[in-house]
């Protein structure tokens, strides 16, 4: 059971226990025991405290300590909400979908425990619209079962605690994964980010105190409550405790989700889990956090996959969506793909992001179509410099590191495309201006 690094799965328990998506099977394997324990033996604050002590950090990207976030919820304002981020739209990320499909009850139990901890009586799971079949065929069934067994609804397990859990689907927009945009979307608005402060903990859904956590984050909660924080800390590092699901994609032999202790080296993920690179080729670049990543080179293969070490290596762990480029991949093409993604997904609210991604796509196209000059490579750098720190939300900011590091690591490939005559007038090429207006 488990794998070579963990003796039992903490999150992907369906890989150890067949049919754990069925409530009977889940219950026969410790399922809903954490909830029973919490309702019988623990005050809400105790639940928050054990999650704080576990050091669990948010798995949606930013790595903020979950228990600390719950602690920000004001006590005396009602109602309060828990909103689960199941938007999972970062290219290269496909872990939440596996949890919701095969181990939905552990997520549901985590949500109930979170509501109990912060005093919320309503929770929503917000999924990307494309997850309609996942919700309909898997999650909805599990939620209905949980209601039938008295884990949801009025007076849960005979206690004073009552809550409702609802499912809500978005409709195709990456930006709705950003927590404030998600709340706008759930309120029936366009999914555009709001300025912070106020933070959702104080003024979130319907302007009420709201906890927003990622699916994987909350799936950690039942085992933490049941087994305690020391047990949880047997895996991972001091600052990045626990296990994490790594979504591995790109040029490896065995792409897929792998649950490993935080702090495992990248090389292990690629070679032991992923079976190495296709045709035995060499690694060229690694995007550890999907399209938003700063790319790192093969010299960083021994970096350990935890929040601190990845930051020290000049990138970030983010949602741990490792996209692997090998030596056969055209680096400029790969950077252009990601820039096109962000142009497509820019919500248009702020001009540095809307215009910046527009210009980047045009300059990339010009380079790749063989009309590029040296000035165009510089232009790419100028555009990202102008975007950096100037966009309303992080979406625009996410564009910068990928382009920056792609040029830094693979400058020769960019320069090889700068084949056209230097333009005599400085600034953007005429054909670009033409397409702009």
């Amino acid at each position: 059971m488990g794998n070579e690094l963990i003796d039992k799965y903490v999150l992907f328990r369906h890989r150890d226990v067949e049919n754990i998506h069925q409530i009977e099977v889940y219950r026969a394997n410790d399922g809903y025991r954490a909830l029973e324990k919490a309702l019988k033996e623990m005050q809400p604050g105790d639940v928050t405290n054990v999650v704080k002590a576990s050091g669990l950090r948010g798995r949606g990207g930013a790595g903020f300590p979950a228990g600390v976030k719950w602690g920000f919820i004001p006590k005396d304002i009602y109602p309060k909400y828990v909103v689960v981020n199941a938007d999972e739209s970062e290219p290269g990320t496909f872990k939440d979908r596996e949890i919701m499909t095969y181990n939905p009850h552990q997520l549901i139990e985590g949500i109930i425990l979170t509501c109990y901890a912060v005093g919320a009586e309503t929770a929503y799971i917000y999924g990307r619209g494309e997850f309609a079949p996942v919700f309909r065929d898997h999650l909805q069934q599990a939620v209905a079962e949980a209601y039938r067994h008295g884990y949801l609804g009025r007076n849960i397990l005979g206690s004073e605690f009552s809550m409702e859990l609802h499912l809500h689907l978005g409709a195709g927009a990456y930006i709705c994964g950003e927590e404030t945009a998600l709340l706008s979307s759930l309120e029936g608005q366009m999914g555009q980010p709001r300025s912070r402060p106020p933070f959702p903990a104080v003024e979130g859904l319907y302007a009420k105190p709201t906890v927003i956590n990622n699916v994987e984050t909350l799936t950690n909660v039942p085992p933490i409550v049941l087994h305690g924080s020391d047990w949880y800390r047997q895996y991972g590092t001091e600052k990045s405790p626990g296990t994490k699901i790594f979504s591995l994609s790109g040029r490896v032999n065995k792409p897929g989700n792998y649950e490993l202790p935080l702090g495992t080296p990248i090389r292990y993920l690629i070679e032991e889990c992923g079976g190495g690179i296709i045709d035995g080729k060499a690694v060229k670049g690694i995007l550890p956090a999907g399209a938003s990543s700063a790319i790192i080179g093969p010299d960083k293969l021994d970096t350990t996959m935890d929040y601190e070490a990845m930051a020290a290596a000049g990138t970030m762990l983010g949602s741990a969506s490792f996209i692997i480029l090998d030596e056969t991949v055209d680096a400029v093409w790969a950077a252009e793909k990601n820039v096109k993604f962000f142009k497509h997904e820019s919500c248009g609210k702020c001009s540095p992001c809307r215009e910046g991604t527009f210009w980047l796509v045009n300059v990339f196209r010009k380079l790749r179509e063989g009309h590029g000059t040296k000035q165009d490579v510089e232009l790419l750098e100028t555009i990202i410099e102008q975007m950096k720190g100037n966009t309303f939300c992080l979406l625009g900011e996410f564009v910068v590191p990928g382009v920056r590091t792609s040029i830094d690591l693979f400058r020769d490939e960019y320069e090889a495309l700068a084949v056209a005559e230097e333009e005599t007038t400085p600034g953007p090429a005429k054909d670009l201006i033409h397409t702009f207006f």
Binding site: E88, S89, E90, P91, G92, T93, F94, D96, R97, Y124, R128, G129, E130, F131, A132, P133, E164, H166, H168, L169, G170, A171, G172, A173, Y174, S185, L186, E187, G188, Q189, M190, G191, Y206, S247, L248, S249, G250, R251, P255, G256, N257, A291, I323, I324, L325, V329, A334, K337, N338, F341, H344, E345, C347
Partner: protein, 165 residues
Amino acid sequence: MAWTEKEQQELDKILKKYPPDRKLSAVLPALYLAQREKNWLDNDDIQAVADALDIPVTHVHSIIGFYTLFRKEPTGKYMVQVCTDLPCALRGAEDFYRRFCERMGLPPTGGTTEDGLFTVESVVCLAACDKAPMCQINLEYFESLTDDKIDQIIASFREQAKIQQ
């Protein structure tokens, strides 16, 4: 027109999920209901949603414009959305998509087949990157595709459409 008693009843059920003064929260679910029958939204459908939720029709239009899963133009009975985003493209999804479009008699960028059955388009990541090439057809997942496999799937949808006629 797609908004009937049935849709209204379903919407009433959906509205129970949100606080009574927050009907607007049901705008996406309501649009899904309105779009269900013919896969796109005409002006009557849009007006029906605005009326059912008691909101300005301009707001419904801006919502439709913002989210990619709603369409104001007629599309095929089956929306075939092939992911060609970076992780999938690293496993051959772009060439797979080009070949698929060609066999469907469509330009390399996709489009709607002459019989109006299929609208084919390339889309960004669908959270199935380890099973590339992949697509969704009316949002159902089809993964680890080959040319043969997708042709068979298309053929079975053609059959299904024939039976339904």
